[in-house]
Amino acid sequence: MSIELRMAWRNVWRNPRRTWLTVAAIAFACLVLVFMLSFQLGSYASMIDSSVKIEAGHLQVQAEGYQDDREMRQVVRDPAAVERALSGIPEIEAFTRRASAFAVVSSEDRTYGALVIGVDPVHEPEVSSLESLVREGSFLGSSADPGGSGDGALVGELLARNLQVGLGDELTVIGQGRDGSVAATVLVVRGIFSSGIDDFDRSAVHMPLATFQEVFAMGDAVHEVVAVGRDLWEVPEIVRRLRGALAGLSQTPPLVVLDWNELMPGLLQSIQVDLVSGLIFYVALILVVAFSILNTFLMAFLERTRELGVMMAIGTTPGRLGRLLLLESLLLTGVGIAVGIALGCAVTLYFQAHGIDVSGANELLARFGISGRMYPRLSVLSALVGPLLVLVVTGAAALYPALKIRRLRPVEALTHV
């Protein structure tokens, strides 16, 4: 241990109370930064997760152009082959098939245009939260619908209100099949769902996929193979591998893999807006901490003017004294940051396990069906970015007294009280 380091360490603890207070200030700032950043990043992940799991999924395999055009003929011809590719990727948790068509949906005396979606009653609940969104009645093919009789329908709450239908009522669906023929069927309302997303609740009717394929002349084809991974953060990797695995599957139009961001444009922007408003808060926090630390350092310098004068008088160069002061502030900040990161991680990990209730989440995000409990997510990034910024800013603050030493005159300093 060099002499400077030893001197700096002793100097730091010459006034333990002040040192602890400064350490506490730095530690607190770091704690808040670690937690807030983890919370923001983590809650975004769970927001995205809960939002995409209403319908879109983490990723989908579709025919090229379907996402924009929604033409009946833009199908995934061989969904079984796509599912074989998905099965080969261990990060995939579940997948399901869907087909959809715009159609005229009519109750006894009301008629509306609606998006009719064929879902697999067995696999859909593994991928989307649709089953848990059922407010009245039951999910397709559940025990209340024995044998999953093919004519069940799950209707959005607002659409059901518009159509004036309740459980057990009949709906007539007339649309256009994949081959251009007139597709028509009668469904019985088995359940009514509410996702909180008005567009969806106003326009969607779910029916069993097998019935959909028969009515809309789909054959074995579907429009979407929807998958969720174990973790949102693994989606880019899954997409990359899936693209590779699907390369051998040729059809016209070709298959494409779309991730949640491509499926739900707008969601990410809303999150970015929220993140930016968070950043403003962080900057303010770091500035406050920086000024309080600057104050501490300046005090340490001013009250030791005489001592510094003595050291210079016996031959210590101003450069060496400057290094000493910088080292002191570095040690002080280092202790504060270490304590802050440790506490921040502890608090974060606690809430990561237990969650935070944010049922009154902000409106922008509520539009995407985000509500309920949020879970912060500790990562190397969220644990280090804030403290690193604190280190940079306090380092800059410590430069000021260190530079001031160069202007110190030993004779004047010696007489300083």
């Binding site: 009946m72 005229v104 008629t111 998006l115 081959d179 567009d199 326009s203």
Partner: protein, 264 residues
């Protein structure tokens, strides 16, 4: 949802398409103009020419897409401006589907579910998937005459006929969707083409007619093709097999009972 615009029901499509088809393919007296006629009069005459008191016909419609094509056959009855009944006769899968338009109201019938559905006005103003016609073209056939100012901007000779190029701009405050229209009308009042422009003057779609010959005792085009400007390899073509023009049709033709259970 944006896509909803492009998708309504085939049967609506058929009904409206037939309404237009007959409107354009209907009756009138061939009149050989001597001097260039006044533009408004010419358009009106062309309109009168293709609109009979009543008509009964059979036609088929082909929707063409890259790598895909489908043809349906249908029987059509019309009377006056507003009433029409369309019944699909082939392919077998779609046989019996029908559309009744009476005034501003429209109903669909599907034999498989054996139900009649009345379409709300919001759906009649939409276009539909799979065809290149939009409901507005079809439902508002007389809008061309009433909502636009017309001007003949060129005259040319083609196949022994004089063809007038008419440019039509909407009257102020007229409830129209187009920025302007261009018509090609032959001197015997046969409509050869109609081009639809948006408000920036860009071509959106074009209706062209062909196979001009005798149909139901009148000179009419048997084939109408609608093509969107953006997608040249996608079009919808309507072709008449036969057409006749009775003075009137029995009232029972344009009823829900007849839509549901054909009596002929």
């Amino acid at each position: 949802m944006e896509t909803t615009n492009r998708s309504t029901v085939m049967a609506v499509a058929l009904g409206l398409l037939m309404a237009l088809g007959l409107a354009l393919g209907g009756a009138g007296l061939p009149a050989r103009a001597q001097a260039p006629p006044e533009a408004g009069t010419l358009v009106r005459a062309a309109f009168e020419h293709y609109r009979g008191d009543a008509s009964v016909g059979t036609a088929d419609m082909t929707i063409h897409r890259p790598g895909w094509e489908r043809t349906m056959a249908m029987r059509v009855w019309t009377e006056g401006d507003a009433d029409s009944l369309v019944r699909i006769t082939a392919p077998a899968k779609d046989e019996g589907n029908g559309t009744l338009k009476k005034g501003a109201d429209m109903w669909l019938f599907n034999p498989k579910v054996n139900r009649v559905i009345k379409l709300p006005p919001s759906m009649m103003s939409q276009s539909w998937m799979g065809s290149d016609f939009s409901n507005n073209d079809l439902a508002k056939t007389d809008s061309l005459v009433n909502d636009y100012d017309h001007e003949i901007h060129a005259t040319e000779s083609r196949d022994g006929h004089t063809v007038y190029q008419v440019r039509s701009t909407p009257k102020p405050e007229a409830p129209v969707v187009w920025g302007s229209l261009e018509l090609e009308i032959r001197d015997d009042h046969v409509l050869l083409a109609e081009r639809f422009f948006d408000e920036d003057g860009a071509l959106v779609k074009e209706l062209t007619t062909s196979d001009i010959g005798e149909l139901g005792g009148r000179v009419l085009p048997a084939t109408l093709r609608m093509q969107k400007a953006e997608t040249p390899d996608e079009w919808t073509e309507l072709h008449y097999q036969e057409l006749s023009f009775p003075d009137s049709l029995p009232d029972r033709v344009f009823t829900l009972t007849n839509l549901r259970a054909p009596q002929d």
